[in-house]
Symmetry: D2
Subunit: 433 residues, 4 copies
């Protein structure tokens, strides 16, 4: 018996993860999948759950799939718990992004004000989930791909006893882009940093590092595919060469903040990513309702999070079968990045064994820009975890103040206060403080 | 024989340093002072030099003062070299500030774009000065109070063999404010951080730390005097309590960036600090011309840099007489702030002995906000030193990109290019790159 | 009112500390001294106490001296508590040394088996003393010169809330030797390491380091005075030059272990240091009984611990008057020696202010021999503290096993078991384990 | 084409490595093997080379094997260079061991005086080998299993540009013992430390650490097989439980030094390991001469180094085929053991990829005994490398002085001087110093 429990089972991504388990069934014989969701998500989980059942039947694999609204029941017997929940659902995301835009800032979900707001909503639910897991399935792995993945992983590492691995599709997608550019798949791309804040430091080709070659290609303007939601990023060649490592696509928010603010905040008729996603989702669920559909629809790949659930399946497979796959995951630092605290979460290329991820060794980071921005970003994340767990207003305000995507001053407090008020229903940790 | 050489001897601050040597003559018997300046500064150095001679004569102390336009001559026999030069003089400062404002950013001299431009102009001249010192007076101490003092100190530490101490009046002035607020002068205030980026971590009162009490006072709104040029700073109490340490006045640029930008960039008729200073200076030199004036005029205290030269005199006194005074100086880190590289410059409260400054020990910095912002700021400084010494365009662009006071994106490159063009005469290190 | 409490007031060193307070009375106006001792020490404390009273009367200073057998009474109102106790008195020391010798090892009191045994006896009493201090005089400084001073200081730092400074006369005596050799007293000698395990790293002469010159002198065979009990030490010049720093006299036990074992263990008629001390003490107390004696007798200087109590007086003076004296004391590391844990005790040259000692900054230790032996010795001390506080047998055996002066193997366990049995009365922490 | 060059090809172990390549030929298609040896080793390399040819022919694999006395020719075209040389051959080893015994110390080849002497002889030849490799086959991996493997690996890492991996059979053999004791092979044993100075820190069984269970078994007296040459080791249960990790068999020299000295030095008729090996070797070569022998003779397994060459084959296989095997190898620390310098060699369990070994992450070592002894041992190794490369007499004497297996004092210098004299032919680096 091998049971997977999916928290936020009503997500539109569920068909991808189901497909992943179907495709791996010969080596990863999952016997039970529980899709858990809350009452407010009933329509979604029932719709996508029905599709999942059709997919399983169509594939002819022996997996029992249940839809479950009682979380403790769903956790019973679980070997792996995948968390893809969205507290407040998409409307909360739209609200976050509009809040950012209102104050002239980027309303991007995982960084800046919107990512912070999402963290504040998600942390209490995650702590409650882990408390249940400690009782019911203390040996299960928690595979988190709820954003902001690094902050959620650090929360679990620091404040619970649950084994956790955080996932993100950014490194996977970046690796695809690098392989395309280098014209070979036979490379070991070594990333390190924080979630949505990684660099490719080495491109190992049988013991030789081809990172310099990659940078030259990028500098000479060769096109470089990024996750769908990120668009194209261009770099000043001297600047990129000075870095000596390739920043991920999300670094555009730090390197091109002004340009993106112009585009997002000041352009008329700008539609937030949340609103776009809402529209895509509505269309997807329309498709999912079709009782004749029994495979993952191609349209799902258009979403920014593509490959996320695929990565989750492969991660479970690698642990279960001790496959020694190289994957890029969020884990406890333990000295991997010696410039960051030992006990924090980092995102780093790791070998996945039956014991979980083993991060590849990274020599000291010598470039001051990479080192300094990483240290600042981690400080923001630590403060966000503290604010989210303890409802500490000072930590929250300080977190936003040092976040490079947030404007600093009287306005910072105004944003925070408005954010707490708008999310009052979810931000119970801030009550009575 | 005890000789002091002042580089940038034509500065309007010179009367303060002269007064300092006069007042200490009984314990620090300076015999020679050479005021060196460049030909463009002839009017200023001759005017202030004449005043200095009248002050010395009036005080009846035995000091021989020379005005010198040959730097190597001025360095001959020097025991202490004080550097207070301003490459490009005040017009370059005004130009820096207007450049910042033009692009919607704070045009403040020591941080942000204007401080960076000043560093780029000052580094080549400092390296050339140290090369002369290595030949002519290799055992002399270089007391630097040319801004940005931390970046200049780090340049000397990393790229020359000269013993250097960087000075700033911000900690001294902050200490005065703290003493006033606490109602006693019998305290040991321990600062640490970077130039214009320090916190008071401890307020030692005979082995008890009263920092909590100080923070409570500041939070309850008690007035806190700052250097003349900084105005009043207010803090959100929860935020300040979370910090657990008192940021210096210059931190307002980071905590109140938006408010200051509103005030500075968007208010009509805004007059830059450089323009104000130009006006004050013109008035001061008018005073200095008066052949009846033979003491330091009170008006000099109105300038932001007051106490700077006083600190320089006291520093020289403490070294010369092994006085064990506690002073706040820029020196090599050597593990004092364990979160920063060993070989960088920091500003820290130190005991001054005959061997120079010995920084007070500082336990690890546990507040993520203080730690993270300090690490980012140091990364900026390291990149600025690299750019200034080697004329590396990539390092320069990266330095500005990670500076929290500079807007990021296409605009960053535009500012840098314009800055290099405007300062072409001084930024020789960037030629032919 | 300024009260000093001396724990182990019956020590033969008491006249030295009394003389120290008499000589400093003009600047350090001590009003009360309590000599505390246990009932078994009644003869000694009453004898030396009577001498102390005669000394005070003879000096004409206004100090009230009490002999006290109730420790809590003695602590009441204390500003400084000096601990110079000897648990088990001299017979326990002789027993320790004979135990070492029996097993073919050096029977030296502060290192090796005898120092370990003394630590095990002293730790429980120290913890109990500190518990009383926490209640009765929580703000008093504990000045410890009970051996092994480093281990006792670390115990207090890690397991109590009392402010503690550990003292030793080795650095003071070594400094005297260095000054004599260099022909000047105008030097700043910078020591760092652990108690009885320090090196002189720098000999600062107005900003120039003369350590090389000192090493050359020592290599060329110039005589170098050591504490009375240590005899003369000779070094192989190549080895000393490779070190680049001067080891203290106690290092002979590590560098000349074999020679000293030959001398001590295998020579017939060898008299242990404890037995010698017992004889000296008996003679001293004979002297002290003389009702006509009213000054410190010169014979006291013959003891190995000379200058110890003098250092204690000066330390109290420096704190009380914020004198900024450079002294060599045992304190919390806090990153001073970056190769050792932050929370351990080290011995380092420090500036003494009204807030206690501030260790001078030390760059990373690059010599592998100094670094490696220091790290091993600290590991021994940490294990000794753990064994002494918790009565952990495994920690105790491991401490002895890694101690370089102890033979390893079946014999180690035999020694430990015999030591625990011989000291059963004092080693209560090992009961029922 | 895939070429392996074996330096010290005349070793009696060669049949094992040949067998290894034969057995893996289906996945690791080695085409050329060059056995290089010096003229003095002609009999041995020709004898074992002829056997190797018969083995290859018998196995029917397509490998061309050459015997080569010109090292540069042997290196031409090499993809992997295996070093198993023995400078001075077995008589030098016997001489080393007798030298140790003469002075009452353990005469063990890789630690203490004999290991140090072997390092001094081997370092100059290794540097010369690497210089040739830098010219002739700069991309080849050097697989070193010449002892002392850690010191030789560190020499190559610090003083050449060659990619090197050091091997030892101790962790492999210890792993076999652990698997036997735990009754399963499905474990990930994680070792870390220095060559012949490792601990098993974790015994991962699908994410659960069973190290505690292993220690309990060892404490309860269950037998634990060690490499043939190490005999049985027993531990005091309290001590082993305090460690919380399992020391390797070579730790008996540190934990049981006294017992082993009794046995080795003081027992009459003691035969050194070198003499035993000489006898075994003579017998082995007798066997090898038999023209009918065409497989590896079983008697070879009786030697202490069994599995060494097997490990070398598997290591090459894992690199060549990116197998992600977990192996225990000597590599650059790079922060893996954060308590040791970044640039030193450590021995650690690593994932072998096509890019070489990636050490598994290790959290900080908290046990003071493990940490302290490791730091001391590394200091010894660093000094040995310095002495061996530069012929620095002071470094050499200091290395021996801090080595825990060497007696300290006048005797240390006598041993060193005798060692240099006895090995004058090989220790050219010490000439003219």
């Amino acid at each position: 018996m091998l049971k997977i429990t999916i928290i936020g089972g009503g997500s539109s991504y569920t068909p991808e993860i189901i497909e992943g388990f179907i495709n791996r069934h010969h080596e990863l014989p999952v016997t039970h999948i529980d899709l858990f969701d809350i009452e407010e998500g009933r329509y979604k989980v029932e719709t996508v759950g029905a599709l999942a059942k059709r997919m399983i039947e169509n594939a002819g694999v022996d997996i029992e799939l249940n839809i479950e609204f009682d979380r403790r029941k769903a956790l019973t017997g679980a070997n792996y718990v995948c968390s893809q929940m969205r507290v407040g659902m998409i409307p909360a995301r739209v609200q976050d992004e509009l809040l950012g835009n209102k104050y002239g800032m980027i309303g991007q979900e995982t960084n800046g004000i919107a990512g912070f707001a999402k963290a504040m909503r998600t942390i209490p639910v995650t702590l409650s989930l882990c408390k249940d897991m400690e009782e019911i399935c203390p040996d299960a792995w928690l595979i988190n791909f709820t954003n902001p993945s690094g902050i959620i992983t650090e929360t679990v590492l620091k404040h619970t006893n649950i084994k956790v691995i955080g996932l993100c599709n950014v490194p996977v997608c970046t690796q695809f882009g690098i392989e395309e550019l280098m014209g070979t798949k036979d490379l070991q791309v070594q990333f390190a940093g924080l979630n949505h804040f990684i660099h490719a430091f080495h491109i190992w080709d049988h013991g030789k590092d081809r990172i310099g070659e990659l940078i030259d290609k990028v500098c000479s303007g060769e096109e470089f595919a990024l996750p769908k939601n990120l668009g194209e990023v261009t770099w000043v060649p001297e600047q990129l060469k000075h870095l000596g490592a390739l920043p991920c696509g999300y670094h555009q928010y730090y390197y091109k903040q002004d340009d993106l603010e112009q585009k997002e905040v000041k352009s008329e008729g700008y539609v937030t990513r949340g609103e776009q996603v809402q529209e895509i989702e509505t269309a997807l669920f329309k498709l999912y309702e079709d009782v004749n559909l029994n495979v993952k629809p191609a349209q799902l790949e258009e979403r920014g999070g593509a490959h996320y659930s695929e990565a989750a399946c492969e991660l479970i497979n690698a642990i279960h079968n001790d496959k020694r796959t190289l994957m890029h995951v969020n884990i406890r630092n333990n000295g991997t990045i010696s410039e960051l605290p030992n006990d924090c979460a980092i995102e780093a290329t790791s070998v996945i064994t039956s014991c979980g991820p083993q991060p590849l060794n990274l020599p000291p980071i010598t470039n001051p820009a990479i080192r300094g921005t990483l240290q600042l970003q981690k400080a923001f994340e630590e403060l966000a975890v503290e604010a989210g767990v303890f409802g500490d207003y000072g930590a929250a305000l300080q977190a936003l103040t040092i976040n490079p995507l947030v404007r600093k001053g009287t306005v910072t407090k105004e944003i925070l206060d408005e954010m707490i008020e708008l999310n009052a229903k979810y931000l119970t940790q801030f009550n009575n403080k």
